[in-house]
Structures are given as C-alpha cells and as structure tokens.
Symmetry: C2
Subunit: 392 residues, 2 copies
C-alpha cells in the first residue's frame, strides 16, 4: 500500500492493512461502527462521515425518546410485547402521508422493502442506473437479467431523460430503478422531470422510485418538503421506497416504508412480513406522524440542508479535488489521479479519526472517489480542515 | 354472542363485540397489546396470558439492559448506527452454539426466517402437521402444494412416527415442518425420536425443525438444555429455526436465528438479509452468549419450567376442562362442549382482565380450545382462580 499523502509509522501501517482487510470483508457496504469496534478496538473514530444522517434530527428524536420512553420506563413494553402488524402501522402513517393505508407497506428498513419488491415484482429484466446503491443489483435473483444505464461523468452523473427513454424502449425492462437524489453522487431529478418519467414509462410494470434522501432535496427557497408518494393512485406501476435512517440517524432501529398499488401491498402481506417492525420502529412511526414532533423536525431538516449547502461551497474551494453537485446530505468527491480512494480514506481515519466512504466498489464510477457525509457544522469544519491538511 | 358462563351489562356487551371484531381483523394471529391499547383504550388488561414468554428471563434481560445500555447512555449508539451485518452476528453466536458461523443465519425474529426458508427452499410440496403455527402454511407462495398431516385428538395431538413416515413416502414432499415442542398443543418429541426422523427422511430436501419452545422442554430431572443444532453437519437437509422471543419475552426486539447447511446460508445472503437485525437485537445476541448472563438465564429458565409444571398440575384439577400434555410454556385447554372459545376468552378478559388466546382459527383442532401461557407463579395463581370463578 502506497500513499503519497502521508508517511505512516509501523503501527499505523499494520492498522492500515487491517482497515483495508475489514473493508474487503464487508464487500460492497462499509463495515459498521460496531464491527470496527469489535475487530479494531485500537482505532479511534471521532467523526463518522460515512454515515448519512441528519445529526440534529437524531438529537431531536433522542430527546423525545428519552423523555417519553426511557424516563417513563415504557421501554419495557416496547421490548417485551409483539409490535403491531404491518397494516396497523400503515394506518398510523396514512393521514400523515395523505395516502390510503392500503397503499402503505412497512419495512424493517428500506433495505427489506428493496429486497421484497425485487424478489416479488421483478419478473425478467431490471434496468438500473449506475453508479447506484449496490443492493439494487445485488439482491436480484438468479435468472433475472440486469441492464445497466451508465450515467456519464462528463454530465456530472445526471440522468439524461431522452437517452433513458430510448433505452427503455429498446430493452423493455419490466422494472426500472430511480434513486432521487441518487446515491452516491447526490444528483437530483426535479419533480416535473419525475412526472415526465412516470408519464413516459407507463408500459414498464414496476417503477421503483427510491426517495430515501428526498428530505434533503429542495426546489425553492423555503426548502419545502418534496415527495411523489401521492402519485401512486395515478401511476399504479410506481413503487416508492423511503428509508427513515437517513433523515433521523436511526439506522439501528430499522424503519422504512413504501407506497405502492394496493394489490401489491396485499400480495406481499399474503406471503409474509407479519411482524417485521420492532417495538422501537413502531414508536418511531407514532412519533414521526405527531404534529408537535413534525414541526420541530422540519426546523432541524432545514437547518441541516442550509449547513450542507455551506459545507459543499467550502469543499469546492479545496484545490485538487472535484466536488460533484449534490442535493442530498452527502457529496461525491473525485480525488487527484495519483491518490487511491482507499489510501485517502485510511489516511483520514488514521491521522484525523474521520471515517469516510471509499467508492472503489461502486460500479459505474470512472476515477478515484470518496463519498462524504455532511455532519454537524462543527464536525464539518473539522472535516474540511483535515482534508486540507492531507493535501498540504 | 351468547355466553353461558356469564351475564354482561350493556357496556360489556359493546366491548365484547369490539374485542371479537378486533380478533377477526387480526386474522390467524392475536391482536398485539399495542393494537388493543390503540383501538380499545377502555379495556384493562392485567395479565397477558396470550404472550408466550418466560417473565423471569424478561426481568433478567431488562436488568442487564438497564444497567449496561440505559444507565450508560449507550442506547444512543444502538439506535443511531447501522447494526452489524448478518455474518458478524453469526460469529458472536458461533462458539456459544458450538456451530460454525457459516451455518448460522440471523433473522428479524424467527418469523422472517420461516418466510425466507419457505420462499427460497420449498420448491413444490410442503408437508405440515396440524394444528400448527399458522405462518407455516400462510407464507407458502402460490403454486406450492400444501399437504396437511392432521395430528389426532385421541392421541393428544402427538406425532405418530410410522404413519408420518408412510405419508412422506407416498406424498414425497420436498419440505417437512416439525415444531418441537409443537404450537399450540405443547406436544413434545423426544430427542431420540428426532434423530430417528432425521435418519429416516434423508430423501426430503428440507427438514424444518422449529425449536422456538425447546428451552422449556426437558428430558431429565436436571432440566438440561436440549437442542439439535449441532446435527446440521450430519444432516444437511436440516434447517433449525429458533425464536428468542419466547425464552426472553423480547418480542419487540425481533431476534431469531437458524442453523442450516452453509450453502443455504450463502444462498440467502447472496440475495438480501443484509441489515436485518436492529441494534437492540445485536446487543441481545452479544449478551445472550456471555457466560455470566448464560449462568443466570439457566437458573430462571429452570425456575420457570418447574412453576409451569406446577401450573399444569393445578389446571388439571379444574373440572370441566381438558388439559393436554405440554412440555412448552403454554397449555392447550379444551372447553366443555357448550362453551365457545371466543366467549370464554372474552369473559376472562372482561371480568378478570386476563388475555388468553382463542384457538378458533387453528386448523386441525377438533373442539373448542384456548391456549394459555404460563406466567409468573403469582399471575398463574390469579389465572387459576379466575378460570375456576368462571366455571362456578
């Protein structure tokens, strides 16, 4: 391993090797903080800028959780008793989302929904834009054909609609996947273009629209919330997937939902997904839909977006790196040609205790990249200084 | 609704109707305590004898949890960060179970594993003993044939091995399901007979052995723990499923595991199940495998078995009901012919605040039954007195 950025001592070289091995073992996802602690207790991670979440919303949630669940002793019943069944939780979300509960499917994290949808609704051929979240192609069952639409670097990895439509016409996939904003580049498709896509691809049986990062996107100066969930009645081929881990930093709770045609929800519930939510996820959804909580959440959502915009502006000023446009809470950064992504990540972790994501496993990216999460403004400043320091 | 046991006032009649409707909506599973609270807040449930768990183990777990997770503030990281991936948690369980981690699959509750196994390994025909846990036939996908082996009432719903083997020979299912002890009757198959079954059904591709209630079974006076998990290397067709909710009363956490052939674990992980454990489930498994915890757990496990045996003896003395032999933590009880199960359950709930399970939705039961969970010795006494009171 060679790293032109930095000189390591022997101890650090050993640790760097261990980090790289751990990364390799984890495959196309980063090792979790727990895995790091278990296997590399000598490592001191100060800032987890791999983890894509709004830290202010985490604090907000934890304040409510501490007051209502920990301090009251109600934690016991959340752990002890069976959580409600899927459609009972759908009912809780229904009026909040302005969608009939029969169109809502609750998942053990969005990841379970991705798995369920691809396993049950994709019949022959799936079209996936790359770079993307790897589970979309990894979870595809043997026998299903995967077609990749490679987004172009020279176009900032933005989806080109006309070419996309041509590809759909010629390949005739039964499933297409759109993540908006896209992961790992943060590229955003405006609402009117999403509508245009939905209008154009009516022949595609299943249109997966993953809005896991949509709370960080904006189309006006008020940062009004955006979602296409209510379009599901108009477009029965639409399957909208939403993770809650990104908005609230509650990846440990596992909470996500989907909005889709009533028949699809029934088809899934008829073959399983009975108690797939845990007690804390049920509490989360009850809280999330409460007016008092929603009000506070919107404030911290907007604060976080504004700070992320500022973070991106500052990153752009660092010479030697290329910062891709993002309307998500993370930024795709291209490194200079002579620096390997894994070396940069290891250096940042060893010298500054900052954990960011390599993108070497991401198919469809041309060059050496990292994906950097926006954290608190204080942490963002430390991240900025640390990156500058590595380039000195 | 007529109930010869009891006279209701008007308020109670309304409530009784609501309870029955809620039961109907929940289908083949009982409404959760949360669902009851949400929809019937006027109902006062004092003892949940529908819920199959060891309450002493719940206390033990919660003591550790409070000390290690709540009081230290570590709850935050359990909620915030991604839990470890499936095989990292398998490694934690590996030495405790004395099984290679590659043979262990972690589930979001046993229910997720039942779903995964039946959806992915059952190809054409499944043989299910009834009465049983309904998910085993409900989760079967369209196109798969279900053969039922009806256990006989006159034989106390015990599995008759020779007839079972004949049926397997003639029907040639690719999957068979054995729950031991069986749900809802508690009937137990001795270890030497499980071995005999495994020896005889080597031609059956998938043998599901559900040991979710095995911690409550015993074959000697020391109540030594029983499990067939280590047989998976000898019998590659064996898929052993284990819920943890029954042993610890932590249904809200969703934790279960399976032991199966390494190729099967890989097949499942190749198509999903990436972050299907939540942070609390990961903590649970780390705690469960610790020597100090295991020592205390075994004490409360034995205490609970002994009290359950006593509870069964006392129930047998009540005239008019038939108590079926059980080596689980619940008891199947047949009611007198003139009493409907739902009426008995409603009366017990309205008059005594005790929630027990009707068995009217259980296919394969001939007569009117309830399934009664063993709770603490104090609660068991109240349950006994309340049932006696209804029969006065």
């Amino acid at each position: 391993m060679q790293n032109p950025l930095i000189k390591y001592n022997e101890e650090e070289i050993t640790l760097a090797h261990k980090i790289n091995n751990l990364k390799k073992e984890a495959g196309s996802h980063s090792p979790s903080i727990f895995t790091f602690k278990q296997k590399l207790p000598e490592l001191n991670i100060k800032i987890d800028a791999c983890f894509l979440s709004n830290p202010y919303a985490t604090d907000l949630f934890l304040n409510y959780f501490t007051k209502e669940i920990i301090n009251t002793g109600k934690i016991r019943e959340l752990l002890e008793f069976y959580p409600s069944q899927n459609q009972v939780i759908s009912e809780i979300l229904s009026s909040f989302l302005n969608v009939n509960y029969k169109n809502i499917f609750i998942g053990n994290g969005a990841i379970e929904i991705i798995q369920a949808v691809i396993h049950n609704f994709t019949k022959k051929k799936i079209l996936i834009n790359i770079p993307t979240f790897s589970s979309y192609y990894e979870f595809v069952k043997p026998g299903i054909e995967i077609i990749y639409n490679t987004l172009k670097k020279e176009n900032n990895y933005q989806l080109e609609l006309d070419k996309y439509f041509d590809l759909i016409k010629s390949e005739k996939p039964d499933t297409i996947v759109i993540i908006n904003p896209n992961n790992p580049d943060g590229g955003y498709i405006e609402s009117h273009d999403i509508r245009k896509i939905l209008e154009t691809v009516r022949e595609v049986a299943t249109v997966i629209l993953d809005e896991s990062f949509i709370h960080f996107a904006y189309e006006n100066d008020n940062f009004d919330p955006i979602s296409m969930a209510d379009l599901v009645t108009e477009y029965p081929n639409l399957v909208l997937i939403k993770s809650m881990s990104k908005d609230f930093g509650i990846a440990g709770i596992r909470a996500g939902y989907a909005v889709m045609d009533e028949k699809r929800v029934k088809e899934l519930l008829d073959i399983g997904f009975l108690w797939n939510s845990n007690g804390l996820a049920e509490y989360f959804f009850r809280l999330y839909t409460r007016a008092d909580f929603a009000y506070h959440y919107n404030s911290v959502r907007i604060r976080y977006i504004m700070e992320t915009i500022e973070f991106i502006e500052q990153l752009k000023k660092i010479k030697g790196i290329r910062v891709y446009p993002s309307r998500a809470n993370f930024i795709l950064i291209e490194l200079p040609e002579n620096i390997k992504s894994i070396d940069f990540v290891t250096a940042l972790l060893l010298k500054h205790g900052i954990y960011v994501r390599t993108c070497e496993d991401k198919i469809g990216l041309d060059g050496e990249y990292i994906r950097l999460a926006s954290r608190t403004s204080k942490e963002n400043k430390i991240i900025l200084e640390s990156i500058k320091n590595l380039f000195k």
